[in-house]
Every structure is written in structure tokens, then in C-alpha cells.
């Protein structure tokens, strides 16, 4: 049974005060959070520096799961405030031994979504409007398309879940879902009551999101070869989608490796057979490869779409395909660190229909 800590203060100040308190009293050694003044994440060890954090700011310059994976194992105790999809990405990385949750106090929040990077570049993030939508349980305007369609907005397995959706921003409810969460909350304030987060409250919003998801998925009509050629035909091969993907953890992607360095005679042969040859080759092959390598673990964070120089809706395609793949294994990426990823377990009876 989870516990609840209710603080009579707004979300932002409550989180700041909580983290300050823990850091000052040396219960934690550092804080990982978004900083609005620099538009990036910070690993902060000095209490004074905590003034600059904006833990719930609706922007994601990088998926924090990727960043956290890169500094584990962590010997000291770090409190982390991240979006649910970043938390889920970190879980998926931990399953792949690319990160360890040890020594992290993982704090997340019911998430209204984040804005595309370009919206921030144009200085068009309207925080007031955003939080008004969150309070009303509506989808904020102009957020990432995959955020509009995201249903994993309230992870129940993070140490602390802060409830924001449908809540007035003058009382902050911290749901403490793990022993670790309870322990650290008690250092701050031991006025805890037994109470679990009520998922029912999110239902109206989730219904709206479902409609948004149907709309998003129906825009990608054809995931067959022709449809994919249409979508990915303008790919410039920068592999930026892969570079920012929290799940794509390979140091050297296979598609950037020697394996695909065809020599001139091989390319000549293809040129002779087809009469024409696209250069560089393997544009769609790369996308298909990435789809099969990581899509079942795709957390739908939308980072890939944001960095695509050709405005390809990468995230929408990957979310649509990823959900279908994950469904076949009754798997939800990032739900539980103990749940192995489907391709790592052997089941004697699996996909008998393929045999047929």
C-alpha cells in the first residue's frame, strides 16, 4: 500500500523545498533535474544551485533515461525528477544492463506532456496555459504529437509520484510507492497517510488521449513497404533519431558499422540490376532495422521526431509499430524493471501461428 504526503504549497516550490531539505541534511548527495535558465538538465550538488531547477518544466532537451543510464553505477545517492517516459526509458535501459536504479531516488509526476524543441526555440512555451490545461485534465495545445497520444502518464513504480493532472497548484500530493520513497519522504515530513494514487481520476483525460492516439495512428495509413518508402523517402541518413533515442544504446549502431560498407563492385551490381541506385544506400533498411531492434521498448518520448531534419514523424511510426510489437508479447515498456524484455526470454510455445 502506498502512502501519501500532502504539502500545502505549489508543485514547483514543494519539490524544490523537499530536495533542498534532503541535500542540506545530507540525505542525498545530488539532484538531477531540468534547469529552466540553461534549458538543460543539471546534476547539482550545491544547495544554492537548486534555486535554478524547474523540475516540472514541459520540455525535454534529451531523454533523461539516456543521461541517467550513462552515469550508472552511481555510488552516491541522487534524487532525480523526470518525466514518466524518461523514467520508463531508464527502466528499459536497466533491463539491458545499461543502467542501474540503485542509489537513485526516482521522482516522477503525472505528465501533461512536453513541447517540441522548436516551440521552445521560438519562445512559444506558455506555462500558464499549460498548467491551466493540466489542472482541467485537458491535453495542452501544441505539445508533442506522441505526448498527446500518450497513456502512460502516471507510473506506479517510481519511488515518488507527484500528482498534477486535475489538481489545483496550491497543494502538492506526493504518492510514495516504494520503501525508498517513504524513507526519504519521512526525512522531510513524516505526516504520511495510507493512500494510493487513484487512477480513476485520469480516466477522462485518458479517453481524450485515446482519441488523439487513434488520430495519430490513422495518419500513418500504410506501414507496408510502399507506405514506409513514402514516409522515410526523404530521410537524410543523419541517424539523429538513433542518437537521441534512449533505447538505442549501442556504442556503434550496426548501420554505422563496417557491415554496411559495400564496396564499389557490389554497388555496381545493384546498379546494373535496378538501372538506378540511391546513394547513400539502405535508407529504409536502417529504419526497418531500428524498428525491429528497439520498437518493442519504445517509450514514445518523441525525441526522434523532434531532431529529424526532414520533419519525418518518426516517433508516430515507431510508437504505432512499437505498440503492436509489444502487444504481441503482452509487454509494456518501462512498466516493471523485473519484467524481462520479450526477446530475452525463451518460451517453448510461442507464435505457433507462425509455424502454421
Amino acid at each position: 500500500m502506498s502512502k501519501l504526503l500532502k504539502i500545502e504549497n505549489n508543485f514547483q516550490d514543494t519539490i524544490k523545498d523537499f530536495l533542498k531539505n534532503l541535500l542540506e541534511n545530507k540525505k542525498i548527495d545530488g539532484v538531477f533535474s531540468f534547469r529552466k535558465n540553461t534549458s538543460n538538465y543539471g546534476l547539482i550538488t550545491d544547495v544554492k544551485e537548486l534555486e535554478n531547477i524547474a523540475p516540472l518544466y514541459p520540455l525535454m532537451p534529451a531523454n533523461a533515461g539516456q543521461l541517467l543510464g550513462r552515469f550508472t553505477p552511481m555510488k552516491e545517492v541522487i534524487a532525480v525528477v523526470i518525466h514518466p517516459c524518461e523514467f520508463r526509458a531508464f527502466i528499459e535501459l536497466a533491463k539491458r544492463e545499461q543502467g542501474s536504479l540503485d542509489n537513485f531516488l526516482l521522482i516522477t509526476h503525472t505528465c501533461g506532456g512536453v513541447y517540441p524543441l522548436k516551440v521552445n526555440v521560438k519562445n512559444e512555451i506558455n506555462e500558464k496555459q499549460y498548467w491551466a490545461s493540466v489542472e482541467k485534465g485537458e491535453i495542452p495545445q501544441n505539445i508533442r504529437p506522441t505526448c498527446e497520444a500518450c497513456e502512460h502518464i502516471a507510473p506506479q513504480n517510481a519511488d515518488i509520484l507527484i500528482s498534477t493532472i486535475g489538481e489545483k497548484n496550491d497543494v502538492t500530493k506526493l504518492y510514495l510507492n516504494t520503501k525508498k520513497g517513504i524513507k526519504f519522504a519521512k526525512y522531510y515530513n513524516d505526516n504520511l497517510v495510507k493512500k494510493s494514487f487513484e487512477k480513476e481520476n485520469l480516466k477522462p483525460l485518458l479517453e481524450k488521449k485515446n482519441i488523439a492516439k487513434e488520430k495519430l495512428f490513422s495518419a500513418i495509413t500504410d506501414t507496408g513497404l510502399d507506405g514506409l518508402i513514402d514516409i522515410f523517402g526523404k530521410c537524410v541518413g543523419c541517424h539523429g533519431c538513433n542518437a537521441v533515442c534512449p533505447i538505442c544504446y549501442c556504442t556503434l549502431c550496426d548501420f554505422d558499422s563496417f557491415n554496411y560498407d559495400y564496396n564499389t563492385p557490389i554497388l555496381e551490381k545493384e546498379l546494373e540490376q535496378k538501372g538506378a541506385l540511391r546513394l547513400p544506400p539502405d535508407t529504409l533498411f536502417f529504419q526497418l532495422g531500428r524498428l525491429s531492434h528497439m520498437s518493442f521498448s519504445c517509450v514514445g518520448c518523441g525525441q526522434c521526431s523532434d531532431v529529424c531534419p526532414a520533419n519525418i514523424p518518426v516517433a508516430s511510426v515507431f510508437k504505432k509499430v512499437g505498440e503492436k510489437t509489444a502487444e504481441m508479447f503482452s509487454f509494456i515498456p518501462g512498466k516493471d524493471v523485473k519484467e524481462p524484455i520479450p526477446v530475452m526470454i525463451f518460451k517453448e510455445e510461442e507464435f505457433p501461428e507462425l509455424g502454421e
Partner: protein
């Protein structure tokens, strides 16, 4: 001065007709040219062997989705081919090709390079947002030979190397006419094979280009004065690259950044958690992703001597940092130091590959001065 060969028809048609003939009479076996993608909002590099497919090619396109040097690299880097290839590209793509040849990434043994008078390219994002409208706009620029449109990429607007270059043959546009110019032995061979006899005087065209280049040079100097403030000194760089998310798109699309594994993506550049904590504690906090400025200054040090100012880095930046203008400015300074112009002449050695006994004497002076200063301080 060389004489040129007048080709019949308007730009697109005359160039396509020319290459069709070269395929028909086996002057070349295949031609590298852009072609529109199925979604009709971008272009891809296609090496065409079947001359019936050539009708779908677009010799001159409004954007540069991929630097042609990169496409050519993938075809020629490993092994020897039997086909004779013609490649048509923008002058900055020719320059990138020349640099990659020097860096042993492209072999030109079987390749003949064609360039053309370039009106510039539109920013990728602008074109993709309104492909038809921007396509029409570009057609106008090309038809009317407008070389200073502010609709083109900022680096194109200040490019003074938009015309004839280190290609083998060049398509010059003069008053709606297309005139082919040979620049090399390879070019002469093509001219002979095609049974052309150059007889067009190029003086007027050259004068016109020179005048345009002078204007653009002026423009360039003025722009660089502004860019300087964004690029010099750590504080300015920090501010300029503040929004950088470390996706390294700029390096991935850069034709010169050919390393398979960039140093800054390697394990060496990813310190472990102990080091990160140590650095955080020294300063009370560190920004993540780490070492953004180190990456950009590192890239400047690694590639700016060969930067051809194609502007792809800006096109690919998800947070609209004017990467290309900054790199173009820095490149102008580093290249000036070595009296080198990237891609201008295949015969020039890469400055870093060449040993000169006497070089940068002023550095020695600076060290001496510093030493004297230090001894005074003591």
C-alpha cells in the same frame, strides 16, 4: 580564356539532354543526380544507369538534403569499379568532394565532376513546410539568375564561390543560355568524345560572375562581423550553443566529418559517474548533456580547415542554432592562417598533412613574450 559550348534549350532540359547523350554514346555509364522522393517534398541522390530513368532526375534542386560528396563517398570509397561516372553537384559539394579525396574518402579515378552556377539552396525546413510554393520560388531564382535572394540559406547568401570551381566541367548560365566549360583534361576528354567544339566567348559571363562575387564578398565580411560576436570567446560560445541538445546532427550530416566514430561519441568522451560527480562537486553543479562547447570547439579544431560552408549543419540542427554561419566564420579564420581554401584546388596539400620548417613564426614570438612576462612576474 577557355571557350565554352552552347547547349540547346532551357536549363533543366539542356542538362538532362546532355547527360542522356553521354549515356547513349557511352561517354559515361551512370550519372549521379538528385531525384524527387515519393512524398514530393525532398530529393535524394540517385545514380542512374538506365537512361530511361533519367527523365525523372532533377539536375538542379532547391535544397541540399545530403551533400553530394557523401553520396559519392559511399560509392567509391572501397574497391575499384568498372563504370565511368558523371556527378552533377553544387560548387560547395565539389569542394567537399575535393577535400574528401585529400582525406582518402573518395576516389575520382572513374568520376567526372560537373558543377553549375549556383543560386544557393533554400533552408530544408522552409522547403519541406511548403514544397510547392518554395519550388516555384526556386525556379524563379534559377530562371532569372538571382544570386542574392534572402530566401536562400544564410551561408549561401554570403557564398562567393558559387560558380566555376574545381570540377572537370561547369555549366555556366548566361542570359538563359547554358554554356558548358571544360576545366580539366578529363573535361577535355568528355568534350572530344561528345564531338563538341568550344566557340562561345565567356568574357561577359566571367565579368558578371566576378561582379556578383565581389558583392557577395562584401556581404560576407559584414555578416562575419556579426557572427564574430557569437563565435569568439567562451562566454559567447556558451550563449550561442545554449540550446544545443548534443544530438550531433551537425557532425552526422557534415561531409567533412567522416570519422565512423566521432571522438565525442566515443567511450572516452563519456566519463563515468565518479568523474561526473567530482566535476559537479567542484562547481556545485554541471549541465547535462555534458561538454557541449567541448564538442563544438573540438569539431571546429578537427574539421574547420576543410569546411566548405555547405550549411547542412544548420539545416539539421533541431534547435535552430546558426551552426553553419559560425563554422563558416571560424573556417575563414583557420583557413586564412594556413593560406588555404578548402576544396578550391585538388593540388593543395591539407595544411595538417604538410610539414613546413618555417610556419607560424608569430606563435614562437608569442611564447617568447609570455616567457619574458613570466620571468618579470617572478
Amino acid at each position: 580564356m577557355n571557350k565554352g559550348i552552347k547547349l540547346e534549350g532551357e536549363i533543366r532540359k539542356s542538362i538532362l539532354d546532355f547527360f542522356e547523350k553521354t549515356l547513349s554514346n557511352n561517354t559515361f555509364d551512370a550519372v549521379l543526380m538528385p531525384m524527387m522522393v515519393p512524398s514530393e517534398d525532398s530529393y535524394a541522390w540517385i545514380l542512374v544507369k538506365d537512361k530511361n530513368l533519367l527523365k525523372d532526375a532533377e539536375p538542379i534542386v532547391p535544397i541540399m538534403p545530403i551533400n553530394a560528396a557523401k553520396a559519392l563517398k559511399r560509392y567509391t570509397r572501397i574497391g575499384d569499379g568498372k563504370f565511368k561516372i558523371a556527378a552533377l553537384m553544387k560548387p560547395c559539394e565539389i569542394r567537399a568532394t575535393i577535400e574528401l579525396v585529400k582525406l582518402n574518402q573518395i576516389k575520382l579515378d572513374d568520376v567526372t565532376l560537373f558543377s553549375y552556377d549556383c543560386v544557393g539552396a533554400l533552408p530544408m525546413q522552409d522547403f519541406i513546410a511548403e514544397p510547392q510554393k518554395k519550388g516555384t520560388l526556386f525556379d524563379k531564382l534559377l530562371k532569372e539568375q538571382i544570386y542574392n535572394s534572402d530566401e536562400t540559406k544564410p551561408v549561401c547568401q554570403i557564398c562567393d564561390k558559387f560558380s566555376n570551381c574545381a570540377s572537370d566541367l561547369h555549366f555556366a548560365f548566361e542570359n538563359g543560355n547554358v554554356v558548358l566549360i571544360s576545366n580539366s583534361e578529363k573535361g577535355d576528354k568528355t568534350v572530344t568524345k561528345m564531338k563538341f567544339s568550344p566557340n562561345i566567348d565567356l568574357k561577359n559571363w566571367q565579368n558578371n560572375i566576378d561582379a556578383l562575387a565581389t558583392d557577395k564578398k562584401k556581404n560576407r565580411a559584414e555578416t562575419f562581423e556579426l557572427v564574430k560576436k557569437m563565435a569568439e570567446g567562451f562566454d559567447n560560445l556558451s550563449e550561442t550553443f545554449a540550446l544545443c541538445i548534443n544530438c550531433h546532427n551537425c557532425s552526422s550530416v557534415c561531409p567533412i566529418c567522416y570519422c565512423r566514430k566521432c571522438y565525442f561519441d566515443s567511450a572516452v568522451a563519456k566519463p563515468n559517474s565518479d568523474v561526473k560527480m567530482m566535476r559537479a562537486k567542484q562547481r556545485g553543479g554541471i549541465a547535462l548533456p555534458l561538454d557541449k562547447i567541448m564538442f563544438h570547439t573540438g569539431r571546429m579544431a578537427h574539421m574547420s580547415l576543410s569546411c566548405v560552408s555547405c550549411g547542412l549543419c544548420s539545416d539539421a540542427c533541431p534547435v535552430n542554432i546558426p551552426v553553419a554561419q559560425i563554422f563558416s566564420y571560424v573556417a575563414s579564420q583557420t583557413q586564412k592562417t594556413f593560406d588555404y581554401v578548402a576544396g578550391e584546388n585538388a593540388g593543395d596539400a591539407l595544411p595538417m598533412k604538410e610539414y613546413k620548417l618555417d610556419e607560424m613564426g608569430e606563435l614562437g614570438e608569442m611564447v617568447k613574450k609570455a616567457e619574458v612576462q613570466e620571468s618579470h612576474n617572478e
